[in-house]
C-alpha cells in the first residue's frame, strides 16, 4: 500500500479486515475468560459496527478467513474512477489502439505502482556504483514497487535475491523475450546476488493445446537461450515447475499456503477467470507466486523466509504479484518488490505484443543474418514519409517507427541514439538508412547469441537446473 498514498487516508479493505478479525478474536477471548457481560457486549457492539463499515467499503459481507484482495477494482478496462480505458494489459492479452503503444503513465495509475523517475535511477547508480543499464536510462523499465525499500536494506548490508521467469510455449524465442533476462543479468552482476528463474511449463500445459512432455521440452530448450544471456551458474537456479514442484516439499508447502489465502472471487477479479475455467488455471497463480518467498528454495536460503525478493518482469505479469503482495503479510513473508518493463513492440507496430507463432512478427533468436535483413526491410513498421522528397522536407516520426524503437532497446550509445532520433525527425536520415542501422545492430547481436547458445551443453543445462546451494552472502 506504500505505493498508493492516496488510498491511505481512509482505511483500506485489508486493514479493515484485519482489524475486524482482531476484534473477533478479542470477543472470543473475553468470552473464554468469562469477562464482565457489559464488557463483552461492548466488544460485540464494536464488532458489529466494524462489520457494517466493512460491508460499506467492500460491498461484501465480512467472512473470517476470506480477506479482500489488494485491488478491489476490476483488473481490466476500467480505471479507479470507473471510466473506460483503451489499453488491455493482462498476462494473456496486451492491446492498444495507439501506434506509440500502451500508455504506460496511465498503467501506473491503474495498477497503483510507482514510476521509475530520475531520482530512483540516480539512486540505483549510487548504490550499485555502476552506470545504470540503458533499459533504466531510457524508461524501458519504467515502473516499480518498493524498489527504494530494497535499496535501503541493501545499503544496510541486507541482501536480496532476484526472481524472473518465462512461460515456455514454444521452442522459438524472439529478441523481445530476452528483455527481462538481459536486465536481470545486469542486476545480478551489479548487486552480486542470487537469481531464480521459473519456467512455467505447467501453466503452458494448462492454457495451451500442448502435451506435458512438449511443455517440459520447451522449458529445457528455452533454458538454453536464457543461459546464453550469460548468467553466472554459481548464482543462478533455473527450474521447470513440472520438475521442481515434485522435487521440493518446501516449494509445495508455500504453494498450499498461498492457495489457502486466495479465494476464487479474488482470482476472478484479478485474472478474469470464469466458472468454465479448469481448476488448474484457477490455482496456478499460487505457483507463480511461490518463488517470491525465499524459503521456497531451502537449498539456497536454508529455512530463512525473510530475504527480500526483487522481480524484474514485463508489466503484464504484475497481476500475479499484486496478488502475491496481498497474501505475503498474511502468511508471514515480506512482499516482493518489482521492476516493470514496457512491452517489446512487434515489427508491425507497437499496437500489439509479439506472437511467437508469427515468424514475421519479430526477430527470432534462430534467424540468419539474411532473415534479419529481410524481416527488418520488409516488415518493420516505418515512421517515414511516403516519398524521399516528402521525408526530406517534413522528417519522419521516430515515436511510431519500429526500427527506431528496436534501436532504443539494443543500441548502447546514448549520443548515437539521440543523433539518430534527431536526424530521422529532421529528415536527414532516410527510412532505409535507419533500417540498415538496426540490421547492423541486430545481426552481430543475434550471431553472438547463437554462438553462446551453441556452447550450452546438456551438462550445462543440467547444472543450472539442479537444486543446489548458490553463492549467497547473507
Amino acid at each position: 500500500m506504500a505505493d498508493s498514498p492516496d488510498f491511505e487516508r481512509t482505511m483500506s479493505p485489508l486493514e479493515l479486515y484485519e482489524k475486524l478479525t482482531a476484534q473477533g478474536d478479542q470477543v472470543r477471548a473475553l468470552k473464554t475468560v468469562k469477562s464482565d457481560k457489559a464488557e463483552i457486549d461492548a466488544a460485540i457492539q464494536l464488532l458489529l459496527k466494524m462489520k457494517l463499515e466493512y460491508k460499506q467499503v467492500t460491498g461484501q459481507d465480512y467472512k473470517a478467513g476470506s480477506p479482500p484482495s489488494e485491488n478491489s477494482a476490476p483488473f481490466n478496462g476500467a480505471t479507479a474512477d470507473g471510466s473506460n480505458d483503451e489499453d488491455t494489459v493482462d498476462p494473456w492479452n496486451v492491446s492498444t489502439t495507439n501506434a506509440k503503444g500502451v500508455d504506460y503513465d496511465k498503467l501506473i495509475v491503474r495498477f497503483g505502482s510507482s514510476k521509475i523517475d530520475q531520482q530512483l535511477v540516480d539512486r540505483i547508480e549510487k548504490v550499485s556504483g555502476q552506470k545504470p543499464h540503458r533499459f533504466l536510462r531510457r524508461g524501458i523499465f519504467f515502473s516499480h514497487r518498493d524498489m527504494h525499500q530494497v535499496l535501503d536494506a541493501y545499503e544496510k548490508q541486507k541482501s536480496f535475491y532476484l526472481y524472473t521467469g518465462r512461460g515456455p510455449s514454444s521452442e522459438a524465442m524472439h529478441v523481445g523475450h530476452l528483455i527481462p533476462f538481459i536486465f536481470t543479468k545486469w542486476l545480478q552482476d551489479v548487486f552480486d546476488i542470487p537469481l531464480v528463474i521459473q519456467l512455467t511449463d505447467d501453466e503452458k500445459y494448462l492454457w495451451k493445446d500442448l502435451t506435458i512432455e512438449e511443455c517440459h521440452r520447451f522449458a529445457v530448450e528455452n533454458a538454453k537461450d536464457i543461459i546464453a544471456c550469460g548468467f553466472d551458474v554459481n548464482k543462478t537456479f533455473i527450474f521447470s515447475d513440472l520438475d521442481y514442484m515434485g522435487a521440493s516439499p518446501e516449494f509445495y508447502r508455500n504453494v498450499v499456503k498461498i492457495e489457502k489465502h486466495v479465494t476464487f472471487n479474488q482470482v476472478k477479479g484479478i485474472f478474469g477467470f470464469t466458472d468454465s475455467d479448469c481448476i488448474g488455471k484457477i490455482s496456478f497463480p499460487a505457483i507463480q507466486a511461490a518463488p517470491s518467498f525465499s524459503n521456497s528454495f531451502p537449498q539456497i536460503f536454508g529455512s530463512r523466509k525473510d530475504i527480500q525478493c526483487l522481480i524484474p518482469c514485463a508489466i503484464d505479469q504484475d497481476p500475479y504479484f499484486r496478488m502475491t503482495r496481498d497474501v505475503a503479510p498474511r502468511i508471514g513473508y515480506p512482499k516482493p518488490a518489482l521492476l516493470h518493463s514496457t512491452f517489446f513492440p512487434a515489427l508491425q507496430g507497437a499496437q500489439t505484443k509479439m506472437s511467437a507463432s508469427d515468424a514475421n512478427s519479430s526477430i527470432f533468436l534462430t534467424d540468419t543474418p539474411k532473415q534479419i535483413k529481410t524481416k527488418v526491410n520488409k516488415h518493420a513498421f516505418s515512421g517515414g514519409k511516403d516519398t524521399v522528397e516528402e521525408h526530406r522536407k517534413h522528417g519522419g516520426n521516430p515515436d511510431v517507427d519500429v526500427s527506431f524503437m528496436y534501436l532504443t532497446f539494443f543500441l548502447e550509445d546514448d549520443e548515437q541514439l539521440e543523433k539518430i532520433r534527431q536526424d530521422y525527425a529532421s529528415g536527414a536520415l532516410l527510412t532505409g538508412e535507419l533500417k540498415k542501422m538496426l540490421i547492423d545492430t541486430l545481426q552481430p547481436m543475434i550471431a553472438q547469441h547463437q554462438e553462446r547458445r551453441k556452447q550450452v551443453t546438456d551438462e550445462t543445462v543440467k547444472q543450472f537446473m539442479t537444486p543446489r546451494p548458490l553463492n549467497f552472502k547473507h
Copy 2:
C-alpha cells in the same frame, strides 16, 4: 456408466460431448483437405444439430475442452427425479433424521453405484479362495463400482492395486476410522497386491484452522495407527501429500493433467464449492484423484499407466472418485473401481457421523479399558425399553441400538451375532448384558491395537513412508 443401465437407453451427456467433439474434428478435417463444399456443409449441419441436442440434454452450451461431469445431477438433497431427500452425504457432512442411519439403498440410486449383492460376495469368495470378510458378509461394504471388472481381470492374471486414505485432522483416531483400513488389509492379504495410502495433510490444512506443521505431524501420528492394523511393509506405501507432492514429479504431472480436465463448474456441482472458497480447496480434488492412476507411483509400477486401481472407502468419499472416473478416459487412464462402506455410527446414535473432536462420541484408539466401559455404559444409545419389565415383555430394537451396531462391525462369529440379535429383540437379552458383550469385545481389541502401535517405531514409519519399490507381480 456400466453401473447405471437405466441411463444407457439415451445417450449420456459425456457420450454426446465426445460425439460432438469428434464431429468438430471431422468438420475441421474436411476443411483442411478442402473437401467438396456440400460435404462440408452437411457435416456442419450435423454439428449444429448435435450442439442443439447437447444443450437440450445438459442445459449448457457445448464448449470444446469442457466436458460435462459424470453426474449432471446436483450432488446433495435431490434425487434424479428432483424430489428432496432427507440424508446429506458428502465428504464434509453426513446427516440423517433416521435413527437407523442413512438410507443406503437410496444412496446407491442417487450416486449411480451398484449394490454389493450376494452374487458379488460369492464371487469374491470364489476368486480369492477365502471366506468373505465380515464387512462383506454383513453389508458394511455395501456398494461398488466396477468390482466385477476387477475380478474378471484378476481371473485372467491381470493384477490390480489398492488405494485408500485418511484426512489427518487430529492425533486422535477412533475405531470408526479403522474400518477402511481393516478391510483394506484383508483385501491386500487375500489378493496379494500392493497398496498406497494417502494422508491428505494438505487438505486438512486448507479446510481447518491448523498450521501446515500440525497437519503434517498428525499425518505421521495417524500413520502409526494405520501401520498397527498389520499392513505388510513390502506391499504398502503410506504417504503425506505435503511430502510426496514435493518428492515425485510424476505425481504432480498427474495432478496437473487432472486439473486441466475439470472445471470450476464441475467441482461446484460435485462438492458445492462457492466463489468464496480458497483456490486450494477448489483444486484439491485433483490431488485426491491422482493416486487412482498407477503411474503416479513410478517407484512401484514404473511407467505403467494401465494398472487398475481399487479404492475401498466410506461412501462419503465417492464424489471425489466420481470426478476421477469422469476424467480418467479423457487422459488415457483406466477408471478406478470402488468398494463403499456405510458409516460407523456415533455412540449417541446413527443419525450423525462421529466427530474426532468429541471424546464421548466414539471409542478412541487411546482409550483405557475403564474409559471404554464407561463410554459404552453411559453414552451408547440403547434400543432397549425403559424398564426391565417392559424390555422382557416387548423386547429391544437392535436396528437402532448402537451397542448392537458396533458388535456387527467387530464380532467375528456370525451365529453368535445372530443369536444376540434375536435375544435382544425377544427381550431375553437386557441392554446392560448387551453392553457388556460390546465392552468385552472392544477392550481386548483396543488393547491389542495399542500393543501393536507401541511396536511401531519412527524407523518403521520412515520405512512405510519412503517412496520405494513394492512387491508387485505383473
